[in-house]
Amino acid sequence: MSVSPFVTPPHLELSVFSGPFDLLYQLMQKGEIGWNDLILKEVATKFDQFEEVDEKSAFLSHFVHLAWLKASSYFPEAPIENEENETPLSIMEIIESYQVARLLRTNLEEQESLSSLIHRRAPLPPLPTQKGLEGVAIQELEKLFKALLEKQSFKFLLPVEIEVSITQVLELLLEKLHIPLPFENLFCQNERKDWIPTFLAILEGIKQEKIELLENGRLCRKEMNT
């Protein structure tokens, strides 16, 4: 709520104050005249003193503004915001930060060149945990795989009956792989349900270094060999 600056503030003669409206606002905001000392009813009675329409409208406008200010003084105070969080970065801060960041970038580039001459052990991939594998701990998987190596049934893993062990499948694969074969050819003759033991057998063969995976380039055809 504001008062137009183009209207000359009307002059007031009150019991606590004598002067134009704008001076009254200033004195009240400074606390030199208390909000409780100002009686709006007394101000309202001064309306009749003004005869010109412009003066009357200016008075009304100022009166409403004064009433709003007085009413606002009774509102609870707004909590003070944390200025540090609210204040955006100043131009000087932005310039300084950018200059430092540019220096840092150059520094990082140099540091990377030096760092590339140094080698360390590669960090190990994190072990799957109960959280990572939706409730399956790595020890449980190991136990399961050991069972699959020897057991001739996948019944406890799959809803279908597969009467073969990974060890047996691996032996069959090794027989097939006396010549290099494309990866997908190891699967094509089997039924879909046989894919799982075949794939696990390939992994086991690679782990035992009995099977080698050959790939001539990135995303090239994969071949298996013994």
Binding site: N82, N85, E86, P88, L89, I94, S97, Y98, V100, A101, R102, L103, L104, R105, N107, L108, E109, Q111, E112, L114, S115, S116, L117, I118, H119, R120, R121, A122, P123, L124
Partner: protein, 171 residues
């Protein structure tokens, strides 16, 4: 074999096996189960001195607040054929965003953009995906934007002992 030599062997084995930098506290915790009165800092210095005196291929590095074994830069030509290049493949823009985050962390994306004067969203996304930076909670301002900070990977890759060390170099 003297007691101190045995301590040194144990320390060397620990540093060799560990895939991540070990702090003094962690080294002390590991060694204290086997030995008493371990002075980790002195032990590390002795091991480092031995490597220097004997012109060994290894040295004890101090990165991300911990110690680890690393090859000496002088032997790089002999191992370069075996090792993959350690370039970050970060663009200049991404590196600039990473520098701002390193310097002003924790910092929000709008603050990064205010400093750079351009949209930095894709760079921030890429840095997050590459684990160069991570979320550090939310800023307590309207909209609660995410705060970002650098990760251990950042320190390890750029061979930095700490963020303070990096900032102090240019300060």
């Amino acid at each position: 074999m003297q007691k101190r030599d045995e301590h040194l062997r144990a320390l060397e084995a620990l540093l060799f096996v560990s895939p991540k930098p070990l702090s003094e506290k962690e080294i002390a915790a590991h060694l204290s189960t086997h030995f008493e009165d371990i002075q980790v800092k002195q032990l590390i210095q002795t091991l480092q001195n031995q490597y220097i005196e004997q012109k060994r291929a290894f040295r004890v590095g101090f990165v991300s607040g911990g110690y680890l074994l690393e090859t000496h830069p002088e032997v790089y030509p002999y191992i370069s054929s075996l090792t993959a290049p350690r370039k970050s493949r970060l663009s200049k823009g991404a590196l600039e965003v990473l520098s701002i985050i390193a310097y002003k962390q924790p910092i929000t994306r709008p603050e990064i953009e205010a400093i750079r004067g351009i949209d930095s969203g894709p760079h921030v996304e890429n840095l997050l995906e590459g684990e160069w930076i991570s979320s550090r909670g939310k800023k307590d301002v309207p909209g609660r934007p995410t705060l970002f900070g650098t990760t251990e990977k950042f320190l390890l890759h750029f061979n930095l002992p700490s963020i303070e060390e990096l900032v102090s170099k240019i300060g």
